[in-house]
């Protein structure tokens, strides 16, 4: 099965959904002839035509990742999701140390060195981002009282 066909099929379904949703918009009042429905409907028609064309004439599959590469990509993804979970809860310093260390390790650094690098990175950047640039950086529950 060609990736292009699967993707274009999904787009075709999506364009149908968009057109259907847009057609059923409940517009209580409207002062202009076109309204909020027309533009999305036009776009969904263009999208549908393009998807059909892609289904008829797809490109060959150009992406054939090895299994270990795929595992690496997925672990990177999981790591980012974990980062998003920890970011607010555990706070910037803890989250960045953990996630940064694993990322560094994924890119070939020795575990201990990766950990100390990430620790230094998170401490220095916390100071730079929160104190110097005064950005909204979460301290987290653990250090909430200290800093």
């Amino acid at each position: 099965m060609l990736y292009d066909r699967i993707f274009a099929g999904a787009l075709l379904v999506l364009s149908g959904l968009i057109a259907w949703t847009a057609y059923h918009f409940n517009v209580p009042f409207q002062y202009e002839p076109l309204g909020p429905k027309a533009f999305p409907i036009i776009l969904s028609i263009v999208l549908a035509i393009c998807s059909v064309r892609l289904i008829v004439k797809p490109d060959a599959n150009a992406w054939l990742p090895r299994k270990d590469v795929l595992i690496k990509i997925i672990s990177g993804l999981v790591l980012m999701v974990v980062y998003a979970f920890l970011f607010e809860e555990a706070g910037f310093i803890v989250a960045t140390t953990i996630v940064g260390a694993i990322f560094s390790w994924l890119f070939g650094e020795k575990p201990l060195k990766a950990f100390f690098y990430a620790l230094a990175l998170s401490l220095v950047s916390y100071f730079l981002l929160a104190d110097v640039m005064e950005l909204n950086v979460p301290t987290g529950l653990l250090f909430g009282d200290i800093f």
């Binding site: 027309a38 999208l47 998807s51 650094e109 690098y117 979460p138």
Partner: protein, 495 residues
């Protein structure tokens, strides 16, 4: 002279200590970002945009810094092309063809110096053209009504579809995805919610920053993970760095021609540095035929042409963004989004009503280019040493900056998850051969396109013939058709 008066306003803005500092910082980081393989100007501007927004810089200062990153990265892209044979970004691909052979011969320093000088003259030439044409174009654009804007955008998308990427159909799909993303949120005309799926965070529309960072930076991290296997890059020694007058004289016409073509291609909506450098390289190759031509084996003309062109196109693509509100490249699409975030609508009125922004930016680009030339001649060794920074140190920094940048906008974790989701989607798009610039172009232009379409039809009372009414709409319609068929005709003629 009007122009000189406005330029003096521009320089008075650009020369304030904070803006001067920002343009220098932007150029420095831009060169650094451009020279690191894989992180091109788009990613650089995208990663720094939320930070510039959150620390509360005034709009002209933020724009000056981000633009500095943009053209700084166009300078920096050549360093890894020449020394590692790995282009720092798409616009620097052609630079590898003659730059790397020179470096292998032990003339890395000569190549770096000559390309820096070519880049400098390319940008400066394009800037002068911009100073001349910006007032003219904005005076022309002031007459534009909604129908003209609709055509202008259709023209932009057509150029994008026929000139960028291998499959026009995939470019159109990308544009439509971007346009559809722009429809999410409260409709400004009637106040109804569209495609929000009941998620309150989407009522205000998708946040431009979240989309840009998700699509570019997050998917880039995934791509870096995939391509990490090839980490055994060999650095060629730089050799002595020098600019010789004879080299410069030998390429003076090459640089001039490439600057002109680069500027024009940059001005065309949607087509940026990668096309400009490819066209310039091809043209010069044909010009040099039979004249001691060694293109591909380290010919200095083959090095000067793409470098002058890609820097000229970076300046050129700013022209339609500032005067018409239509970005000339993917990176300027992000700069346009940045301006909109600061509640500044680029367009013909920008030059009259807020000259400090438009002219401040132009003036800062003159300063930035001089700074870049200085940074890239004596300080080149510093950037070369930074090239060897390990990805295991770099990637945690990129990931951290994207998360901090996005979180600091609203202080809400929802944006982080949404960003990752978009990153996965963008990764799939890239793997299927879609390019991301059309999506961003669609996203920034979506609201403007819909608004103008609806306004035009309000004026005509629902009659679509208003779209072909008046000389300018005819000209733009013909230009659109030309953009549609010209590439095919050129292909046929070549056969």
């Amino acid at each position: 002279m009007d122009v000189l008066h406005f330029l003096s306003i521009g320089f008075s803005v650009a020369l304030t200590p904070i803006n001067l500092g920002l343009v220098l910082a932007g150029c420095f980081f831009g060169t650094l970002i451009g020279s690191l393989p894989g992180i091109g100007p788009i990613n650089g501007v995208a990663i720094l945009l939320p930070l510039a927004y959150s620390i509360g810089l005034p709009p002209e200062s933020a724009l000056i810094m981000l633009a500095g990153v943009y053209y700084g990265a166009e300078y920096g892209g050549r360093i890894s092309s020449i020394l590692l044979n790995v282009p720092g970004d798409a616009g620097a691909i052609m630079t590898t063809l003659d730059g790397y052979p020179m470096a292998k011969r032990g003339e890395g320093g000569r190549a770096l110096a000559l390309s820096a000088v070519s880049s400098f003259f390319g940008s400066m030439g394009a800037l002068l053209l911009m100073v001349i044409f910006a007032p003219l174009l904005s005076r022309l654009a002031i007459e534009f009504g909604p129908s003209e804007y609709v055509w202008l955008m259709i023209f932009a998308f057509t150029c994008l579809a026929t000139m960028v990427g291998k499959r026009p159909i995939k470019t159109i799909v990308g544009v439509v995805i971007g346009l559809l993303l722009a429809t999410i949120g409260i409709d400004s005309g009637t106040g109804i919610l569209r495609f929000t799926m009941g998620i309150p965070n989407l009522f205000d529309g998708v946040d431009f920053l979240v989309v840009v960072i998700g699509m570019f930076a997050i998917s880039e991290v995934l791509i870096l993970l995939e391509s990490w296997a090839r980490n055994d890059l060999k650095m060629t020694p730089v050799g002595k760095s020098f600019v010789s007058l004879s080299d410069m004289l030998a390429v003076k016409w090459v640089v001039l021609r490439s600057t002109l073509s680069g500027f024009l291609i940059g001005v065309l909506p949607g087509t940026g540095a990668s096309i400009a450098s490819a066209v310039a390289y091809g043209t010069e190759k044909r010009f040099a035929e039979g004249n001691n031509e060694h293109f591909g084996e380290g010919d200095i003309r083959g090095l000067a042409a793409p470098e002058a062109a890609n820097n000229a196109s970076a300046a050129g693509s700013m022209l339609p963004m500032l005067t018409l509100g239509i970005p000339g490249s993917g990176t300027t699409a992000i700069l346009l989004g940045a301006l909109l975030m600061f509640n500044i609508t680029p367009g013909p009125l920008l030059f009259e009503q807020q000259p400090q922004i438009a002219w401040g930016l132009i003036a800062s680009m003159f300063i930035g280019n001089i700074a870049l030339l200085i940074m890239n001649l004596p300080l080149i060794g510093l950037f070369v040493r930074l090239l060897s920074i390990k990805q295991s140190y770099l990637v945690p920094i990129i990931v951290m900056l994207t998360f901090v940048g996005i979180y600091s906008i609203h202080g809400d974790s929802f944006d982080l998850f949404f960003m990752i989701g978009l990153g996965i989607f963008a990764f799939i798009l890239r793997k299927l051969g879609f390019s991301l610039a059309p999506v961003i172009l669609g996203l920034v232009l979506g609201e403007v396109l819909e608004e103008n379409l609806r306004r035009a039809l309000s004026i005509s009372g629902g009659n679509w013939s208003i779209l072909l009414n008046g000389t300018m709409t005819y000209i733009l319609a013909i230009a659109t058709v030309a953009a549609l068929v010209a590439p095919k005709l050129i292909k046929k003629f070549k056969k």
